[in-house]
Symmetry: none
Subunit: 253 residues, 2 copies
Amino acid sequence: MESWKPPSAPAVRQRRPRGLVQEIVNSLAASIREGVIKPGDKLPTESEIMSRFEVSRTVVREALSKLQANGLVETRHGIGTFALNLPDTSNFKISGCDFSTLADVIALLELRISLETEAAGLAAQRRTDANLAAMETALKAFSDAIEQDSEAVPSDFAFHMEVSRATGNRHFADLMTYLGTMIIPRTRIDTSSSAPEGRLKYLQQAHGDHENIFIAIRNQDADAARAAMRTSRRRSSRDTSRNGGLISSMYLS
Amino acid sequence: MESWKPPSAPAVRQRRPRGLVQEIVNSLAASIREGVIKPGDKLPTESEIMSRFEVSRTVVREALSKLQANGLVETRHGIGTFALNLPDTSNFKISGCDFSTLADVIALLELRISLETEAAGLAAQRRTDANLAAMETALKAFSDAIEQDSEAVPSDFAFHMEVSRATGNRHFADLMTYLGTMIIPRTRIDTSSSAPEGRLKYLQQAHGDHENIFIAIRNQDADAARAAMRTSRRRSSRDTSRNGGLISSMYLS
DNA sequence: ACCCATTTGTCCGTATGTATA
DNA sequence: ATATACATACGGACAAATGGG
């Protein structure tokens, strides 16, 4: 096993981030973002890319197809492919190809948890009694879900959303909603398979983290709230990177 | 002319909207949007689509690839392709009316600085020498701008952007860019009017803050970097709320 | 107007790997 | 463990659009 010999010797290729297509997408996207290929410039022809990366045309075309779908390039029949990427500052959007590798997902998760850390601090200073009550409800729902072995994600997310809301700053909740909808749908994987007892342990730990966060916010201790959230973060990303493809843990930060 | 006989008789095909791929994308997208294929349903297998539209597998795969990129379907390895149709949560956007009151602007600024606080912590752990050099350049440009009484905003923003870049996580820089373009244009107010000597003092203080942040990042001290950024934030928001409409200070966090 | 080279678009066929039931 | 269906990759062929000679 683990040989994968191509018919016509492609020299070396040490890494395989997740297939040849992704390799080319990453490379070209980087070139565009870093300005090596400026907006309006013509990309190399498909044949050139083929020989440069030593891949077949199928791969090149799939890569260009993804870049098109993500609005980075536009291709004109008989002419070539051109970079677009007008610094679209009019809205913050995370393109679909940012979920292709595990590293991408972790990067996104890191952003989300950084936000949550600060949100926890602000929430500790400003939370209302109504916020506390909502958090407690979500916390209860979460622990019930653990016991009944049912879906824990919704109540988990509800807790995190309530922390964001408790900042009193609508933008925190808005951004969290956005990041949540971007991340959660990609985590269809397992959640119930591949380690029933490990999962239970993980969820209980997450619940413990949540309670610490809740207590700190209730006590209006901003530093403790941030620290608790950060602790939760550290565990989560450690687990995520360790188990490679087991992404289920990610959205249970 | 106008014969185009394919090897194995394809019956009719009157229009070609812009390629076979687009034809299939349109057809499937319509099916999903009109509810012929409901969310969660399995789409026909690739082979079925091939024979139904009389196209090759290549075309089918490219069509499905575009539907994936547009978030309309999700395909699970070894199982099939499934309709999603959770339309639109597709981007995070701050609407223009969020700048109507001072409170709105402060809320936005708070989001930005929360982000920067965490970014500073990550930057301290990951900064490269190139990052440090770029920060130093921006710092120098900022102090020059203070002395010459010229526009200090660009170099200030450059410094903050470089901190975001030093996280090594592209999404931090992206979000900062977005928030920057949203906030800066709204701060046309004064910057040179309404308190020439107070402004100088303020800018010098900001420069001092920046240097503290820089030193902490250079020393790879994450806690100190966050603390320095937070100190900067506290001064900034105190000034901003005190002087009511004098918003100029805000973007010099 | 014609042809030609270039480049993208479409198609075919095949082979191997991998995930699911 | 086998069968199914998708994932990835290769290669060759021709069609169609474009722009220049």
